[in-house]
Amino acid sequence: MARKIALEPRDERVVVTAQHVTKTFLLRHTRSIKEAVVWLFKGRKKDITNEFQAMDDVSFDIADGESVALMGFNGSGKSTTLKLISGVMHPDGGAVGIKGKVAGLIEVGAGFHPDLTGHDNVYLNGAILGMTKEEIDAAYDDILEFADIGDFINTEVKFYSSGMYLRLAFSVAVHTNPDVFLVDEILAVGDEPFQEKCKALIRSMVRDGKTIVIVSHDLDMVEKFCKRGLVMERGRLVFDGPCDQAVRFLRGRALDGSEDPERPPLSEAEKAKRLFTDEERAAVPVRVRIGGPPLTAAERV
């Protein structure tokens, strides 16, 4: 069965490591008294059907400065992986190790309280995300400017429009400046100009060599931003390699392992938006590849 292990040593450049990680959830917590009695009399055997394996022997290492996309369909274990990296949950088996501070655009706005003013929420949320008072003081003007909410900063957050609320929450989160930046579905919120602002910010972080892990269903976007891609399926890591191949792998899975339908080749303008050249991506080794669509000629090399 799953058991916790001591971390194996890794190359110095690795800043996030997951080693044989398993995580199991109980699907039903409350039993009726009748069921509990039956369960007791049957020798208290574990009821397997009530368990859900969210992560099954998942291992990967992320090196400093890497931009990694974590992909998969709903329920594949992406968010659980992020929760284990951020420390909200602990693995049942295996081990997770991180270096430095991990934060970012995950559960944006969770630390906000509607009855506090914008100003107080900035300080409360900044503190929750691990910033010191000095760091928040220093970033305060930038946070307000990025959020673009003007005089509303001294108004209670419950009177904000939903867009303003999220802009302020995002703004605090992106100014936390962690060592490993986690991003979970950034683009589901905000109007288009704000989304563009967020994308531009993440782009500059990737360029500056920040370690970033992005969870998203927007495959076109992650293909542009990330060099490496991980694909999860029913709690298992099924692909770990260059991001464009990971995207193709996932799209192939969506179609039951058949060929990815022809997509028009990327225009030069589209290619220019990518942060990594084909060569840079091709340099990422394929570490895991379980099943999936047949290899293309380029991948077979």
Binding site: R10, S86, I98, D115, L124
Partner: protein, 297 residues
């Protein structure tokens, strides 16, 4: 990549994310604790005109009710000089205890939305309950002091020390129980009801409204020992010693009240050991189950 391989992050050691160091986290996260306390206070008194003044009004009303009912109707005033001060110095102990205990046992579940989404040292929540309760406690002590000074209170150093030690005992004991019941509450919401039950009877389990001598005269010896083992009994007696005993000018009959034998030499150290021992146990329990909070909430 070559430049980033020299970044300071890579030189750090791996650590397991979300593994707190228990109550020690409180000292390294003082700023966050302050913000959480600030939030609790603001949220509690939002849209309230009187705000913190309520923390003076509520105990004053409570005091008046007990004083009229117990002191005048039941005639306890005649039995004990300055009965009002006697009673109030016990009530402030109980108010501190019930507030810390009641709030810290609920605060984990109350902040469940945050706890299951973002990691932060969760001990900060029960400790913030303690801090908020202190903010409500000191106005009550201020009222007590004003009344004391009016009747000519002039304490010795020993009595000020008794107050401080009693204060530490109540705070630590309440926080310790809060950690235990707060942890239990994540898994079984019955815990909240136990907390309410305990808060309901706890005033009567210590010599707040009556004198401990009555218990000693009525109950068998072993029951009296258990009664005295309750750290709150010691804390209440320490408060009596600090705030009430110095105001009594006439001789109190021995059979009505006298200082609990060995209060300082024996029962106070025991209360401190029990409280801090329980705090250690509560901290260990909390840390043991903390990893499951996010998925259970």
């Amino acid at each position: 990549m070559s430049s980033s391989s020299q970044s300071p992050t890579t030189r750090l050691e791996f650590h397991a994310p979300g593994q707190g160091r228990g109550l020690r986290e409180v000292f390294t996260n003082r700023f966050l604790l302050k913000r959480i306390v600030n939030k609790e206070i603001q949220v509690r008194y939002r849209a309230s005109v009187l705000g913190l003044v309520w923390s003076y009004i509520k105990p004053a009303i409570q005091f008046a009710v007990f004083f009229v009912a117990m002191g005048i109707f039941l005639g306890l005033n005649r039995g004990l000089p300055n009965y009002a001060i006697y009673m109030f110095s016990g009530i402030v102990v109980m108010n501190l205890f019930t507030e810390v205990f009641g709030n810290s046992a609920r605060i984990i579940v109350g902040n469940g939305d945050l706890i299951k989404k973002i990691y932060l040292p969760r001990e900060l929540f029960p400790v913030s309950s303690l801090w908020v309760a202190w903010i409500h406690f000191f106005p009550q002590v201020a009222i007590l002091l004003v009344v004391d000074l009016l009747v000519g209170w002039h304490p010795t150093l020993m009595q000020i020390l008794a107050f401080l030690v009693g204060f530490v005992i109540v705070s630590v004991f309440a926080l310790a129980l809060g950690l235990v019941f707060g942890t239990a509450n994540v898994f079984f919401r019955d815990s909240e009801n136990f907390v309410d039950l305990i808060n309901m009877v706890v005033t009567w389990l210590s010599p707040v409204l009556y004198m401990w001598v009555l218990v000693a005269n009525t109950l068998p010896h072993w029951a009296v020992v258990i009664y005295k083992l309750n750290p709150l009994t010691t804390a209440v007696e320490l408060f009596h010693d600090a705030f009430w005993a110095p105001t009594v000018t006439s001789q109190v009959p021995y059979e009505t009240w006298h200082v609990m034998p060995h209060l300082f030499s024996y029962w106070t150290p025991i209360a401190l050991v029990v409280s801090f021992g329980l705090l250690l146990a509560g901290d260990l329990l909390f840390r043991h189950f903390e990893g499951k909070f996010a998925q259970e909430l």
